[in-house]
Amino acid sequence: MSRHNLQIDKNGRLRHFLSISGLNRQLMTEILDTAESFAGVTAQTVKKVPLLRGKTIVNLFFEASTRTRTTFELAAKRLSADVLNINITQSSTVKGETLLDTLRNLEAMHVDMFIVRHADSGAAHFIAANTAPHISVINAGDGSHSHPTQAMLDMYTIRRVKGPDFGALRVAIVGDILHSRVARSQIHALNILNTGEVRVVAPKTLLPAHAESLGAQVYNDLQAGIKDVDVIIMLRLQRERMQGAFLPSEHEYYELFGLTEEKLVHASPDVTVMHPGPINRGVEMDSDVADGPRSVILEQVTHGIAVRMAVMSMAMSRKEGPSG
């Protein structure tokens, strides 16, 4: 089976949401527009619409997460769905149950959607390929492969701040590209939206082989990499990268790749700074930047709810019969 066909049904509608690659510009724009329509909901006093009333959504997290799980949960609740949070790291797989058995058991409870996070690349695809036909799967991050809702909320944020013409933009993604599912999804998304220039900036130890083949220009120097860019997306640096001999120290990383007000002068004067969170202050980013006027980091979190509402409702509405 093809990965691309897996998430799109024969009418071109979203069936699952597994990766950005395989989406077309039209569908991406539809997701962004739908998110826009939900943005109002989250600002209302009664923050609910009945679109997914009676539906059961399972947050199936095989890897720890606070932000993503919480925003998915909020998004589901604002769509009036029932939400079940299952933290598998302390559940059945520890007792030797296979992933497939876990799925079968949850299917037997008549759930409608799985939101999946897993440490293995390809896990969401595997689940989508093996789950019951009526269940939709949303990838909330699989290994270093994909984190499509994060990329969509980032595109949404960029569109809000910079307007819809991505062709006029230069975007730099800075940090641990090698291990980042966020970066991979962002690069795909930016390319599908015809972004003028997509750059990745990292030392060679944090770049995957043939990084340029992802669809980005590769820079090893922060100053050169952010020169004249309109958007800078900083990635979180995992502390364990020091032990893995990827880097000598947080200090040297901060010196070379940490984003500070002084370094920001090389970027476009109205540069926007983003970060998928959680931030390591003083490692990849200075607090002055994170909390400064160019930062939209907290807006990203807010937008995450609307974008996730959009994706969930689109994947569910594809089916016969109204959802609410």
């Binding site: 992933l99 497939l100 293995d120 390809g122 290994g143 991979r184 082989a209 043939h210 992802l214």
Partner: protein, 432 residues
């Protein structure tokens, strides 16, 4: 081997006999008695065949020798057994299988070797030879009792896919093996550089975010091993090369007179990193499938004889082993059923002649393993494979003989079908 009928006299008539060891390729009769080839062309005096096999329009070659077959017994009988897999081998024209030492328990005592030999004899479908463990439990710490393993019948020693982390232990292991004239079978893979990866570190793994195994994991290991082979003077064989660069290093070493041989497994001559694009766990192999360029360079190295054996690297699995996210699945392909037809396809696609191709499946591996089989000389043990080179068939769960159905070639049209297999003069397989 079954006790029955070594007295059977068999005539294989009018087949195209290809015997690479003797560079023979001609239509001829073969006369077999008491398990051996006794004459060609004209019947010896007083020869009355008990059985005549009409081999017109068929190719008659030595029984194939597969240099690496995981039989899963002892230890993983949920996947396969010696009986099931040796039967699959017989139906694929394979008469000799070489079992690596990573069974459970490991082949590090004569008892395990003996167990495998007895089970294979009881099944009677194919000859099974074993590689003994180079170190106890394959832990890379203490040497195994190699002299005892050799006495028990092990044709070589190997640490299989388990790393030899300490170069000093490796040096001594090679020296000790050389003491007993044992060939060491090395799997070139630098444990640290491979870093637990599950795919070739290249464009596809980058896109899929899969942990990569760089080319240097293989080439650095080959360079390191070659240095120790030269130092110790041991005879060594490199198992399952996957990169064109490593094949070139072996070619250079052979040119320099270092006693090394090397093989490749057939999937690596057909598949590449591109085939994992859909997280297809059936293409999850260790060592990993490399680039399209590597694949071509491996084919070239087979043609040049740098890689003197092509093997199945048979790794049958139960279905569950492949049901999971790609990195969590067990690596390996079930390959016995497809070894011959895929190899024949190679002869069609590349300029490799049938003679050279069959050499890599018979005389080549026989030489590496130090076995007297893989030839049809007068007096040779009558291990024979007869196949119809133009017969087409489909690989499906009905035609597949191995217990493991884990193959990305499932559903494919195969050309070339075994009609008879003889093991020491006994007909162990007939296509019905």
């Amino acid at each position: 081997m079954p006790a029955s009928n070594h007295s059977n006299k068999i005539l294989i008539s009018s087949g195209r006999v290809i015997d690479p060891a003797n560079k023979v390729d001609r239509i001829r009769n073969i006369y077999i008695a008491e398990g051996k080839v006794i004459a060609f062309d004209k019947a010896p005096q007083g020869f009355n065949a008990d059985v005549e096999i009409d081999a017109r329009h068929r190719i008659v070659c030595p029984g194939l020798i597969d240099i690496s077959t995981r039989l899963r017994e002892p230890g993983q009988e949920q996947k396969a057994t010696i009986a099931t897999e040796s039967l699959a081998a017989a139906s694929a024209g394979i008469t000799t299988l070489c079992c690596p030492p990573d069974t459970q328990p490991v082949i590090d005592t004569p008892a395990v070797t003996e167990f495998i030999r007895l089970r294979a004899e009881a099944a009677g479908n194919a000859r099974v030879v074993t590689l003994g463990a180079l170190t106890q439990s394959l832990r890379g710490e203490q040497l195994s009792e190699m002299a005892a393993l050799r006495k028990a019948g092990c044709v070589g020693v190997s640490n299989a896919l388990m790393p030899l982390l300490n170069p000093l232990v490796q040096r001594r292991a090679l020296e000790y093996a050389a003491t007993f004239d044992l060939t060491v079978f090395l799997y070139p893979n630098d444990h640290w550089l491979a870093n637990g990866g599950c795919a070739h570190e290249g464009r596809v793994a980058t896109r899929l975010g899969l942990p990569g195994i760089p080319e240097a994991a293989e080439t650095a290991a080959v360079a390191h091993d070659l240095a120790l082979i030269e130092q110790t003077g041991v005879r060594a064989h490199f198992c399952r090369l996957t990169t064109g660069r490593a094949a070139k290093m072996i070619a250079r070493a052979q040119y320099d007179g270092i006693p090394v041989t090397a093989d490749v497994a057939i999937p690596y001559l057909y598949l590449s990193e591109v085939d994992i694009s859909d997280f297809d766990s059936l293409c999850h192999l260790i060592p990993p499938l490399r680039t399209v360029e590597d694949r071509q360079q491996l084919r070239d190295a087979v043609q040049q004889g740098v890689l003197s054996a092509v093997c199945s690297d048979h790794q049958p699995h139960e279905p569950d082993a492949k049901l999971g996210p790609f990195p969590a699945t067990e690596p390996g392909i079930s390959g016995l059923d497809t070894l011959l037809p895929l190899s024949l396809q190679l002869a069609e696609e590349d300029s490799l002649g049938l003679m050279d191709l069959l050499h890599r499946l018979t005389a080549g591996p026989a030489r590496i393993l130090g076995l007297p089989y893989g030839t049809l000389s007068i007096g040779a043990v009558a291990d024979i494979c007869i196949f119809d080179p133009s017969a087409s068939w489909q690989l499906d769960s009905r035609t597949m003989r191995s217990s493991g159905h884990n193959t990305p070639f499932m559903g494919r049209e195969m050309k070339g079908r075994v009609t008879h297999t003889l093991l020491a003069g006994n007909i162990v397989y007939t296509l019905n």
